[in-house]
Symmetry: D2
Subunit: 428 residues, 4 copies
């Protein structure tokens, strides 16, 4: 199989080792990822951000393939028993392709709002291990124990610890693909980093004991800049895209909207158009795998369309605003202390009340936090000439200055009709 | 309004003249374009081709804005009465943004299969002129006669004929955007051409009579290469993307599938999940505008999902194949003569029959045709030094050799299980 | 050795097989290529075209390395005795790196004007085979017979004929690099083609007899577009860059200028600042290799600087015009017939005479000719499904229409002060 | 005049306002910049870095033109008497084009080694103001006082202070071009930033007093990321290119070599091949403008070629090493304290002595220092919503953490034959 990819150019899974990828691609669970946008509601802020988790899954498998090639090039530095086996390669490719399998539409929201719903990671495990899934059938055909090992590897566990870190770690293949792909789709140039050079910089660190498996590391001679640019690409994408005020506002609206749905269902109020999986989760009942897999972006938008005519005026209003992109506005709160923020929220909610809007559903304080770089708990190291091993933050001018620092964006969220009142109240 | 766009980088509609764009963008009819993929089924062949008509509409308006700037730079060459008025600028921007408004999902298919349905151009006219649409309200607020003039301009008619050609012509803003955007999304590099240089090459040809409106032309001194690369970009995109065998096969499957739906509805067979607009069109009844606007990609895929359980085994089978991407295969027929092709089709259909498959719904000959370049009926000209005007094909080495030539791709289409039988039958 | 390259990104010669490249790079003959611009006088028309033959030599070796990797991937299709040996790989890399070694500054001019001078290909052979050269020493250290085999391979001869064609043929590694590099440096986007996809499309054609070495071919399934785009890239670069009117005019001026130098030297007129190699060649004496290697761009420009004060007024004038970029102008002659062109030249020369300028040194007709594509005498083929072999022009819409066609650019060349007179005389 | 540029694509100086650029371009002083590489010796480390100061000068003028357009778009925010006049525009374009006019080859070295030589900024002033220069003639033809005003503006002084800062400041047009151009030529991707967005982010800050000229500022709403990426691009280019160990070693070698030349000339030792300007400077005599303008890269490399046969063995050796790229090696000294560094240098010089090499000419400690960002003394500000003005470091997560921090690279420099001894001595 040879594919054109807008991010990586030519993607080929055409060797014997790669066949697992082509077989997995044709399963309904992987095909379902075509119906879920990688960036959820972000296309409301960046019109180009319409790419699906399917394209990202392929890209991630491609990067894993390239990583495996790099590991082959440098495996002479480690003991034979620590090298990749054909099975490990197969597990690695499958894990890269399947790592997002359990995502629902707007998945993080879904998890937050529907308390009894499992996190997407758990759904991924279920799909991989459920004997009824196409994915499970393909994996089992390769080896009876493969589904379990793939599920473990996706969860970050593998006897070859360096492989586990490549699926889930600071430099994992998931991040490697999504930064480039999200940058390509949004048109935000800052998310690009130098993948070729980064892969080429990978090497094994000296093993700490005779029997321990050596971890992957960055070669200082050629790799520090590519590592820095990777960390910065991620930071920029958080600042520009993932924490974008319009996206955050839209996400908050969906959360508020689902809180109404859950409330209605729990109260026993009849509500049309509720997908079975959501209905079950809202009522605290187990969600069937088949029902979960029915969920995708269009199912969700379809439900919103129906709820525009709901009898709950708040639900109807929020649904209509979402559909017509009448998104809530934000106001940045630069004060970092908790009491100031709380006071700002109180003032804003007071204004909502005065305007006859339910503060719970119409005004909130949104605090987004990320730590762009922290190598204090992270096994990633840099290898200097003569085998000296150091933390990246100890040798990089930039990373040393970012280590452990928190990026925080606090904003009030409210409907546009409150803009003037809230600004006036807060500026006075 | 300032936007990031993956194709054009920074897009700004921030002057007084541009406000029409921002106002139109927030109408439900334009927002609906977010739910229709620009390239229909192409993402089944190129996973990246997931961009919507919405992003393309914005890009087209952006190119129109740049074109209007270029026209201002060269308007000194034409009589004042032939220059752009503020109204014409407004109409031009609106037309560029709205040119695709009437597209349904997989729109060309829809038109072919549902005979009584209007073509998408007509739907665009209806939406623009229907006093109930948001688009109409915004346009009317600008001027009572604006909706009609915009509808006419989208249809390729305007007193300033050069403007009409910029909306619908060899070098129109629609093509200018979609070639770049489809290339960006698919990852096919051949669709890129040099937009900056092409715009800069535009000038007015000398008017042929004192009162006639001079047409736009390409300046030979700097523009022929950019025109050539534009024509070639289009040719490459046809060869690589629009005529891609997988896409053509999928499109044919949807056509076959809809033929079954129409058949069932006409026969009075009950069929669940048929969207109202399709139901009306299939029965030869007028389609209400509101029903038409409810159609989008997810509605269509939702219908296919339901039809997987239809009692019509062919409809159920074709729907299931589409959903699981078990797409039909193709075999290129290089013989150009009609009888050879017909014979190939007959042989293949015979094989279908022998395998118990209905030839009408499972085998066909697909002939795709495009004329990449023809300037014999086209007003586009090139202006040489000293004001000499020539046809592009007369001054370009490449275009002269392409003029009027037809690109033809003829293929048999059939399910993969017939591959071996058909190949054997035709190769023997 | 790992390098950053603006065209290919990361270039690595870091395996045992590649060591020959690093060793050759540090020889004075290869380092000399830093002092010769790849595109000669083209930077007078495209200011960015300042890249040297050194960077191109590295890029060419890099593409050869990638080609060798591709050949390894597909070698299972050919008989073991036809596969690449380690020696052949070494010869291939060396030949790619060294293919331009014999170029002098503005090399083609040099050969035309100095009749007794050898063509640059011959100089390459001499440098490679001269036991005094650093290059020879490095090659001989690898194997006594290597210099001769490398010289032969550069000349297009090798027992593995497909390797010979990769060094000198329609798709050779030289072209593959210079198109991309010249496009990158000039900023002309049309010279880009899809190298990754082109390499991936290469395969062996079926051998015609049991013992014959199978030639390389393009796989029709994925390669025709990449071949087309390569041929078109070359055509565009000829039209836009290599045949650019300003470059052609400057080259003609240097030719005219050197004709004066040769004339002076043959007449025995003393002339300062003549490099030894030019002096010898002009007098019809053998040119010493050491003297030849002293020539580079700066030596040439240095000589022109001195000749600005020559007593020959024509030589002084032409040298001064070159140094101050007072380049001659051109007028395109679109008439294709010989007599019309000759008449145009006569008219223009008449005008020169009337203005007191020596027609021989100030006016000429420049006819540039290239055949962009011709597969009638070329072994390159395309392999269709089921092993059918065809000529590219028989399966490609575009190439079929370009086959054997000649691109011709005929122009009068003259000093700018004659522009008005010549235009008037020819337009009347 | 319309140009292709590899960095900016299309560059046009085709309005009446721009004519000054075209006229200046044809002067010998600007044409001379073709013969001086922008990055001096960097092509010894990055083979692609062969671009000249000429291409950079054009690119800088292009960015100035775009900046002037942006200033026109936002000038409504400032008082009419503070807006750009046609004369100011002309001065701005000329200053951008001419800002590097006084650079000699490897200019910074030249200044350091030849104590009596003026810095390149002073030479720029002299060329602009010398009535014998072509540049001066062109400027004077525009206005008698223009040369002086252009000279002042290049020096960072202008009544419109925001214009002065655009020629010489944190975000000046010089930097804006060279970062992109150096990144393009070297292939280092980290030097790219988002020029379009940065220009679009510029606005005037509120004036501090009624009569003061408002400074340029960054609009916080859309500009902080583009400012951050600009600062980081510069930081990356310093780390990767300008402070590259190979370049620094080569520069040090040239410095050591010139110290020998100066020593010889002061001692009265005859030395062939010394360019007149260098001879004068070395002897502490005034350097004539004409002699200075004769200097360029090829003159310098020509001198090195001659000095390979000098009777001073150190000068001959260093010249030969430079010509054959037998460059000195480096060893990073990570200890930041002065005494440790000094001790390392002493140890290394001791090893040189033991090997019979003059420590002064063969071993040194090279300390490169840059402060990537400091807004404490810099007038650059960011304008938040509601007109609030802040320092960039106060609103940017990244810049706040870089403010005032010093990037330091300390390295020992020595010939490769000392590598082993020095490593051993220092590691023991």
């Amino acid at each position: 199989m040879i594919l054109r990819d807008p991010v990586h150019g030519l993607i080929a899974f055409d060797t014997d080792d790669d066949q697992i990828v082509e077989r997995l691609l044709s399963t309904p669970e992987v095909q379902r990822l075509r119906r879920i946008r990688q960036l959820g509601l972000t296309s409301l802020a960046y019109p180009g951000a319409e790419h699906s988790r399917f394209a990202h899954a392929i890209g991630t498998a491609h990067i894993m393939k390239r990583l495996l090639e790099r590991l082959s090039d440098v495996e002479e530095w480690i003991a034979p028993e620590h090298r990749l086996t054909p099975e490990a390669r197969c597990e690695a490719l499958a894990s890269a392709l399947l790592h997002d399998l359990g995502h629902g539409p707007l998945s993080h929201l879904f998890e937050e709002v529907l308390p009894s719903s499992a996190p997407h990671e758990e759904w991924t495990q279920r799909i991989v291990q459920d004997s009824g899934s196409g994915v499970n059938r393909v994996l089992t055909a390769t080896g009876r124990e493969i589904p379990e090992r793939v599920a473990e590897l996706i969860g970050g566990k593998h006897p070859l610890t360096y492989l586990a870190r490549a699926v889930s770690g600071t430099l994992d293949v998931d991040r490697c693909d999504y930064l480039l792909r999200d940058a390509h789709a949004t048109g935000v140039p800052y998310g690009r980093y130098d993948l070729d050079w980064l892969l080429r910089s990978l090497r094994f660190a000296p093993a700490t004991t005779a029997t321990s498996i050596p971890p992957l590391a960055i070669d200082a001679g050629k790799g520090i800049a590519s590592l820095e640019s990777f960390i910065l690409a991620r930071l920029f994408m958080f600042q520009q895209v993932y924490f974008h005020k319009t996206t955050r506002a839209a996400e908050w609206m969906v959360r508020a909207l689902f809180a109404r749905v859950v409330g209605q269902l729990r109260d026993g109020t009849p509500l049309a158009g509720v997908p079975a999986a959501i209905d079950a989760a809202a009522r605290g009942r187990p969600v069937a795998l088949g029902d979960y897999l029915e969920l995708d972006d269009s199912v969700l938008w379809g439900a919103l369309h129906i709820w525009e005519s709901s009898r709950d005026p708040v639900l109807a209003d929020l649904s209509a605003r979402m559909r017509s992109r009448a998104l809530f506005k934000t106001r940045e709160i630069t004060d970092q202390d908790e009491p100031s923020r709380t006071r700002a929220l109180e003032i804003a909610r007071e204004e909502a009340k005065r305007s006859g809007l339910d503060p719970e559903s119409y005004v909130d304080l949104d605090v987004a936090v990320d730590v762009p770089f922290d190598d204090r708990e992270d096994p990633l190291t840099v290898v200097l000439p003569r085998g000296v091993v150091r933390k990246p933050g100890d040798v990089s001018f930039l990373l040393g200055r970012l280590r452990g620092e928190s990026l925080v964006r606090a904003r009030l969220i409210f409907p546009s009709e409150l803009r003037e009142r809230i600004d006036r109240a807060l500026d006075s």
